[in-house]
Amino acid sequence: MKIILNTLLIVALAVLTFSNGARAGSQRTLNIVATTPELASLASAIAGERASVRSITAGQEDPHFLNARPTYMVMARDADLWIRMGLELEVGWEPVILDGSRNRSIRVGQRGHFDAGAFIPYVLEVPDATATRAMGDVHPSGNPHYMIDPYCARAVAIALADRLIDLDPAHADTYRDGLKSFLARLDRAMFGAGLVERFGGDRLWAAEAEGRLWELIEEEGAEDDLGGWRGAMRPWKGKPIITFHKSWSYFAKRFELVLVAELEPLPGVPPSPAHLARVIDLARARDVSLILKEPFYPVRPARFVSRETGARVAVANTFAADASADGFFKLMDQIVGAFDE
């Protein structure tokens, strides 16, 4: 008995002593914690040296089913800014972490809480009032897999820079510069340097928003200047594909792919033989040539459909693998690369 009490006391004292020293050094830069690496990557790109940025998920797991590990509470405790995808992606664990962190400045609604999903220009698959759980893992506010549309990522980056300036006005210039170079890099990565040089990024994104990018390119005879992800995905325009989970809607909208079916009968429900049989029929009828799947989903159902239809299985992640400034670009390169044979 006494041993336990003494241990409690000693540990408490030890913590008090060494923790003061441990925190003193980190006061100068912003501590940013994002729920996914691609969000963290945007923050890294904008804040640069001004912030230490970490991500809760490592990009290998499905963030929907994460557990509220104690370590995450420690990360949240030290955060000046918490960035989430929103649209209920983190609904299962974010409240537990935020409560457990005892950090009042990052609670929902505070300046230190950045809900990226609230800043995207459009939301797909918002269920109507008749939605029930019988439809599987339906997100009541819409599909949360928006970061793989660079147009959404761009909107998030712009809003995030505003928030960083709001939090740390003394270094507003750093964040403005960070945003500027991120956007410049994004323009080139999306459209290719040639096209950006000719039209400027803003004009291209405006055309993108109005759905008249091809019109613009055709009118101006700029086909040869098109590069980047848009250029690489051009041959896939209008092509039907099959995905494992309903996580490619935004990507498909941006790059004009046609989503024919998912291997999951309902979001979050593993593929069943009966459903796969229907998918195979659909794939044959629509002449599908590609099945897209995240690495954490089982490969067997995808291979099965592939064998039956001749469609190729491409593995690509919808979550970035690293939280550095390059993380988001690597994520998109990886996805676009998966379309190449």
């Binding site: 008995m1 797991e61 557990n67 104690p70 537990v96």
Partner: protein, 424 residues
């Protein structure tokens, strides 16, 4: 009973109120998001089929365990004990919302065929500085991971033996205040202090009437510490230590109740202490395939209670002498996701590795340990429904000798409404 009925009708009323509230209509871009100030409401339905090989339910066998004895669940209609055949174990109604910028709160009502009972009614601070948090109301003590879990969150259908026998089916569920501190350590280190009323029917039994002295509440004090290293990748580990002390009074009534010549009364304190750990591996795979959880714990107690009254004058020379009970128990359980949505689990338990009793007369007795082994198979169709088959086999050291009992559970748990949280 009246209070129970009130609670029950209250629940029905609030459910109706929630139903008649305007449905959340998803708005388009620009004018979203839709905000609702109604509490999140969810309902958990927990049902089971139960079979056992003994002459009586395991609850009664456990009441006769030597050393642990004196487990009367009287007055506690709302227990999770299983009866042979079909059981509607519990319907849990959960209401949860932010109160204001400073508090959040939730109320959890458990309803079973015996009536309704308030399981939790909690206000939690959200704005205290320095890593502090206060929880007040009625709640499951956070002294251990297992005690804080509701029955439908357990990895096995039934509670572990040591928790059931020492703390009762409900565990330590008390009215009081908890102060916890997330220390500024570079790893997770959480310290907690709980001051509780001490009305547990089993562990911290209190009467305060007749020959037993009144003792002002709060009567139960608990302290605990949880630590988790910053493991990388998909591994997570947490360990905890706890200790507590509370008033314990025992009434040993003969067949004629308070007037029985054999009836006697004891008053004193009980210490509980122990440790627990959990390790979780979450693989980078969908549908819980390859996920592994290993958890274990130890719980011990020492009750030191004085004989304060005895109806038999021939025993009055023993008044003021102490009855000392020293018991403990261990559990270790592992659960593995062997296929998408499917999990298999094993649990081993012992009860009474230390199992001593010193009577007021000075006679010391030692009793044998009991043990139980369990195997579990469950299938979660989605996050919201789970079917489970569990088999137990145990050997119990009862007053009538060693008793072997086998049990089988077929359990179905469904959760409706707001999304459940994934606690660690």
């Amino acid at each position: 009973m009246k209070i129970r009925n009130l609670v029950f009708f209250g629940c029905i009323l609030s459910l109706l109120a929630a139903r008649s509230a305007p449905a959340q209509v998803p708005a388009g871009r620009g004018d979203r998001p839709v905000v609702s100030f109604n509490p999140n409401i969810s309902v958990v339905i927990d049902t089971a089929y139960y079979w056992h090989s003994s002459d009586e339910e395991l609850d009664h066998v456990l009441e006769e365990l030597r050393g642990f004895g004196h487990q009367h669940n009287d007055g506690n209609d709302h227990d999770h004990g299983f009866e042979s055949g079909f059981n509607l174990r519990e319907i849990e109604l959960i209401f949860e919302a932010d109160v204001d910028p400073y508090f959040k709160g939730w109320a959890i009502v458990g309803i079973d065929p015996a009536g309704a009972e308030l399981e939790e009614a909690v206000v939690l601070t959200t704005a205290l500085p320095w890593g502090l948090q206060v929880k007040l109301g009625k709640f499951f003590s956070d002294f251990s991971r297992l005690n804080a879990q509701h029955a439908h969150e357990w990895n096995f259908t039934d509670q572990t033996l040591i928790y059931q026998v020492l703390l009762g089916d409900q565990g330590l569920n008390e009215i009081g205040v908890q102060l916890s501190w997330l220390t500024p350590a570079p790893f997770f280190l959480l310290a907690g202090l709980e001051v509780l009323q001490g009305d547990n029917e089993v562990a911290f039994e209190y009467h305060g009437d007749g020959p037993l002295p009144e003792r002002d509440g709060p009567r139960l004090f608990l302290g605990w510490l949880k630590a988790a290293p910053n493991l990388t990748g998909n591994h997570a580990f947490q360990a905890g230590l706890f200790a507590g002390r509370g008033v314990r009074q025992e009434e040993h009534l003969g067949p004629e109740g308070h007037s029985d010549p054999g009836s006697h009364y004891l008053d004193g304190h009980q210490w509980i202490w122990g440790a627990d750990f959990v390790y979780r591996y979450t693989p980078p795979r969908a549908y819980g395939r390859g996920a592994f959880t290993l958890e274990g714990g130890y719980l011990g107690r020492r009750a030191d209670i004085e004989l304060t009254a005895h109806n038999n004058p021939a025993r009055h020379h023993l008044l003021g002498n102490s009855l000392v009970r020293e018991q403990d128990g261990l559990y270790l359980q592992g659960v593995y996701g062997f296929a998408p949505r499917w999990r298999f689990g094993l649990r081993g338990e012992t009860l009474g590795l230390t199992n001593r009793e010193k009577k007021p007369s000075g006679v010391e007795e030692k009793f044998d340990p009991s043990w139980r082994a369990s195997a579990m198979l469950d299938w979660s169709l989605t996050e919201f429904s789970r079917l489970r088959l569990q088999c137990n086999h145990g050997r119990y050291d009862t007053a009538e000798g060693k008793e072997n009992v086998s049990e089988v559970f077929v359990q179905a748990v469904f959760s409706l409404g707001a999304h459940p949280v994934h606690r660690f």
